[in-house]
Amino acid sequence: MHGRVKVKTTAQQEEEKRKEREKKLKIYVAARDACFSKRTDGVLDEEALQLTQQLLSSNPDFATLWNYRREILMHQETIKDEDEVQNIYEAELLFLESCLKVNPKSYGSWHHRSWVSARLPRPDWSRELSLCDRCLSLDDRNFHCWDYRRMVVRMSGVPVDKELEFTDRLIGSNFSNYSSWHYRSTLLPLLHPESPEPPSPCRQPQSSPPPSPQTQSHRVCEEQLLKEYELVQNAFFTDPNDQSAWFYYRWLLGRAEREEMISCVYVSREEERVAVAFSRPVNAQSVGLFLVLDGQPQRVEWRSVHPRFKQSPVWICDLPPGTINDISNEHNLTVHWTEKHTHRDCALYTGRTESWCRDTATDQELFRSELSVEKTSVLQSELQSVNQLQELEPLNKWCLLTIILLMRALDPLGYEKETLAHFQTLKEVDSMRSAYYNDLCSKFMIENTILKMEYAEVRVFSISDRNLTTLCHLDQLLLVTHINLSSNQLQRLPPQFAMLQCLEVLEADNNCIENLEGVYHLLRLEEVSLRNNKISTPADLKPLASCRKLKRLDLRGNPVTQSPDVESELSELLPSVTDLLL
C-alpha cells in the first residue's frame, strides 16, 4: 500500500501525448496565423522576425517563411541606417549558423545565407570562408557547403590561384577527397587555359550545343597539364584504390569531341540512290540537308535506314528516275549540311556503277582521338608509370582501365594482344561489371578490325571468334560488301545494322542470334548464313522480306527448323530465296 508508485496506464499516456500535441499544434497555428496576419496587414517588423525565427528553428524547410523573412529584412533596409542594417544581418547570420548546426543540409538555410551575404553592407568574407572550412571538416562531401563556398569566392573575388592552393592543402592532407578534386577540375582551366587556337576547327557557336567541361574551352594548357599528371600520380601511387585521383587523371587525359561533318557520301547508279553518313546521329529533316546534282538542287525525301530511328548517322534518298542510270554519263553530286556549313562532293564517273567519297577512320583518327596530349613521348611515359603501379597492384581495376586507355591512344593495333589480356584480368577482378567489360572489349575489337580493313582498302569486314557481345560503329560500315561475324556471342543484329547499305553477303554462324531487326531493306543482300543460332519462329525472319535480292539463306542448327510447315511458311515470306537450307 505504501510507496506504491502510481504507474500511468497506456491510455493515460496516450491522452497526455494527445494533449501535448494539441498544445504544440495550437502554438504552431497561432504563430503561423500571427505571421500571416501580420503579412496581410503589411507589417514587416521585428516581432514578425521573432515569430518566423521560432518556426524556422524547428522547420528550416518552410520555404515560405524564409521568403517572408526576406521581405521583412528588405523593408528594414529602407527604414534603418547602415550600421543598424549591418547589425540586423549579422544577427541573421548568427541565427543561420544555429540552423545549420541542426541541419547542415537544408536547402532553405543555405539559400538564405547566400542571400544575406550578398546584402550585408560590410561582408566579412573570411568569416564565411572559415564557416565553410568548419563545415567541410565535419563533412567534406557536403555539396551545399561547397556550392556556398563557390559563391563566396565569386562574390569576394578570391583569386583562383588561392583557391587552387586551398585544394592543394586539402588533397595534400587527404588524397581521398573527391569534392576537392572536383573543385580543382573547375579551377584549373580558369587559371591555365589552353591557347585560344585549339588544334581542331571550331564549330559555329550558334548551331552547336553549348560547351560543357569536357569541351575545348575548358581545356588546360600543356605545361600545367604535365604538372597535374605528377600530382595525380602521387595520389594514385599513394592510394591506388581510391577512385578520386583516377577519375581526375582520366579527365586530364581526355579529349573533346571530334569535328562534325559528313563522313561519307555513297552513290549507286543502278538503284539511283544516295546514302549519306554523318559523324553523329542527326535528323535529316531538321538539319538543313540538301542535295545538288550537276549544279541543280534536287528535291528529295530523306529517310533513315530503319523506322525506329528519328535520329540516325546514315540517311538515304532516291533520285528521280532516269537521272543517273545512263552509264555513259558522268555526274557530280554534292551533299550540303547547311546547319554546320559543311558539304561533301562525290563524282560518279562514266562506266562506273557506284562511287563514294569519305574521310577514313585512319585519317580522322576516329578511335585514337580519346586523348588530348598529342605527344607520343608524354603518353608513353605515362604508360610506363601506370605499368609500374600495375606490377605492384595487379588486381587494381582503375590501373588496368587506365593502361587500356593509354594503349588504345598510343597504338591500338600494336597493343591488341596486351589489351585483350588486360580485359581478361579486369573481368576477374571486377566480375560484377563483366558484361560492361565484354561490350567495351567488343567495341575495341571492332575498332581494330575497322582500322585493319581501312589500311588494306578492302570492303570486307571479318571479326570472328572474338567473344563479341555487341555491335557498334556500324555507321563506319556503310561501304562493306561482305561481313563475317561468325563464332561470337551476339544475340541480335540490331536496327543499326541496316546502315550496311552495300552488304551483299552476311555470315553470322555460331552466335546466339534471335533477333534480326537490323537486316532490313538491304537491297544488295544476296546471301545470309545464320547456322547454329537461336532463331525460333518464322516471324523472326520477317525483316528479311524487305531484302528483295536475297537468294540464299542458311538456317541449319536453329530451333526454327523444327517448326511445323517451316518450309512453306518461309517460301511464302521470302519468295526471292531460291536456296533455303534447313
Partner: protein, 412 residues
C-alpha cells in the same frame, strides 16, 4: 546443375515482405510520425511515394481513391476571378498555409499561396495513379505557373517567390509538360543548355554548372532529356558512353550516389533507371543489387531505409521497390524509368492522350519520344504494314529484366 539450384534457392531466401510494405504505405497515408513534421510543406510528395509504392505492389485496392483524389484537387492553386494570379498556379504541398478547403474555383488570393513545382509534378502523378482523368486540372493555369518559374539560364525555381534553382526542378517541369502533353510550359532549348552545362568533368551531372556529379542529378538530366525526346540531340554518342561508364561505376553491391560515398537504397532507382534509359541496365549485377536493397528492408514495420539497420521512410521504401522492379522482382509492377510511375499508370496517361501510331510525318513539337520505353514512331516512307515492332523484342526486354535472376552469378 544441383549447385545451380541451391544457389537459386539461397537467392530466393532473402525474402521480400510484400504485406509489410503494403501496411507501411497504408500507415503513411493515414498518419505520419512527429519527426516528419518538417515535411509538412511537402506532404503531397510523401503521398505520392505511398500511392506509387502501393501501385508497384499492385495494392491500390486498399486506398479510398475518391477521397484521395478530392484531397489532391483541394491542393490545386486555382486562378482567381480576375485571373491575376496565373503565374502562381499549380499545386501546393499541403494545407499548411491555411487556405480554406476547396476543390473548386475560383481561387482565393493569399500573399503566400502558390504552386510548388515538385508538388504539381507529384500531384499530377498521384492523380494518374488513382485513375483520375485530369479533367479538373486547370491545364493553362498550371502551364502559366510553370513558365513563371523558369530562369534565363534554363533552370527552374520551385516557387514563384523564389528559391534555389537547379536541375531537380527542370525534371519536375519536364514531367509536368509531358503529362499535360503541352511543352509550352517551358523553353526546352534553354533547359537543354542548362543540362549540358551541368555535365561534370567525370561525366556525371551536377545540380548546375561547376557542381559535383551525383546520381540523383544525373537521373534528372537524362530522364528530362528522354521526356523531351532530345537525348541523342543534346548529347553525343561519346558523351552518352562516358555517362554510361560513370553510372556503371556507381554500383558497389547496391548503388551509391557519388564516388566514395556509402551505398544507399534510393540510388538503386536513380542510377538504375538512368542506366535503363541509356539501354545498359544489363551491365549491372542484379543479385548484388537485390541483396543490398533487401538488407535495408525493415522486417518489422515494413518499408526500406537508406542503409541497413536504419529507420525506413516513405522515400526509400518507394524507391527501394522501384529498384527491385527494375531488376524484375516477381509480383512487382514495372516502373516507367523516366516518369517514375508504373507502366500501368503510364498506359492510363497514354489513353488519356490518345496516342495512335502515326503514319504521317512526325510533328517534333508535339510528342517527343525516344528509346524503347516510348512508342515507336514511323517515318513517312514506311507504312504500318511494312514494319511492326517485333514481339520478340518485348520478350527480350522482359527477359533482360529478369535476366539477372536467371543468369547465375559467376565466380566472385
Amino acid at each position: 546443375m544441383a549447385q545451380e539450384e541451391s544457389q537459386f534457392e539461397e537467392f530466393e531466401q532473402i525474402d521480400f515482405l510484400r504485406d509489410r510494405h503494403v501496411r507501411f504505405f497504408q500507415r503513411t497515408l493515414q498518419v505520419l510520425p512527429e519527426r516528419y513534421a518538417s515535411l509538412e510543406t511537402t506532404r503531397l510528395t510523401v503521398m505520392f511515394f505511398a500511392l506509387s509504392g502501393l501501385d508497384v505492389l499492385d495494392a491500390l485496392d486498399v486506398v479510398d481513391r475518391d477521397v484521395m483524389i478530392e484531397w489532391i484537387y483541394s491542393l490545386q492553386v486555382l486562378p482567381t476571378e480576375d485571373k491575376s494570379n496565373l503565374s502562381r498556379c499549380g499545386f501546393r504541398g499541403s494545407s499548411h498555409i491555411g487556405i480554406p478547403y476547396s476543390t473548386k474555383g475560383p481561387g482565393v488570393l493569399h500573399p503566400y499561396d502558390s504552386g510548388h513545382v515538385a508538388m504539381t509534378y507529384t500531384g499530377l502523378c498521384s492523380l494518374l495513379i488513382l485513375g483520375d482523368d485530369l479533367s479538373r486540372v486547370n491545364k493553362q493555369a498550371c502551364l502559366a505557373g510553370l513558365r513563371a518559374l523558369q530562369l534565363e539560364d534554363g533552370s527552374f525555381y520551385a516557387v514563384p517567390e523564389g528559391s534555389e534553382n537547379d536541375i531537380r526542378f527542370i525534371y519536375c517541369a519536364a514531367s509536368i509538360c509531358y503529362m499535360l502533353d503541352d511543352w509550352s510550359g517551358m523553353d526546352i532549348q534553354k533547359a537543354i543548355e542548362y543540362i549540358r552545362g551541368s555535365l561534370s568533368y567525370d561525366n556525371g551531372f551536377g545540380q548546375g554548372a561547376g557542381r559535383e556529379s551525383h546520381g540523383g542529378w544525373t537521373y534528372c538530366a537524362i530522364a528530362s532529356l528522354c521526356l523531351m525526346g532530345r537525348l541523342e540531340e543534346a548529347l553525343s554518342q561519346r558523351e552518352l558512353d562516358r555517362i554510361r561508364r560513370w553510372c556503371v561505376m556507381r554500383q558497389q553491391s547496391g548503388f551509391h550516389g557519388r564516388p566514395n560515398k556509402p551505398e544507399d537504397t534510393c540510388y538503386s532507382f536513380w542510377v538504375g533507371a538512368t542506366l535503363e534509359l541509356l539501354d545498359v541496365f544489363r551491365y549491372t549485377n542484379f543479385e548484388k543489387n537485390r541483396s543490398f536493397i533487401l538488407s535495408t528492408q525493415d522486417r518489422l514495420v515494413g518499408g526500406f531505409a537508406k542503409w541497413p539497420d536504419s529507420h525506413p521512410d516513405p522515400l526509400h521504401a518507394y524507391l527501394g521497390l522501384c529498384g527491385l522492379s527494375l531488376i524484375g522482382e516477381p509480383d512487382l509492377r514495372k516502373v516507367h524509368p523516366a516518369l517514375n510511375i508504373t507502366e500501368r499508370a503510364f498506359q492510363h496517361l497514354q489513353q488519356l492522350q490518345q496516342t495512335p501510331i502515326a503514319v504521317s510525318t512526325i510533328d517534333l513539337t508535339k510528342r517527343p519520344t525516344s528509346g524503347t520505353w516510348f512508342e515507336v514512331r514511323l517515318e513517312n516512307n514506311f507504312s504500318v504494314e511494312q514494319y511492326k515492332p517485333s514481339s520478340k523484342l518485348r520478350q527480350e526486354e522482359k527477359r533482360r529484366a529478369v535476366g539477372g535472376r536467371e543468369k547465375l552469378p559467376s565466380v566472385d
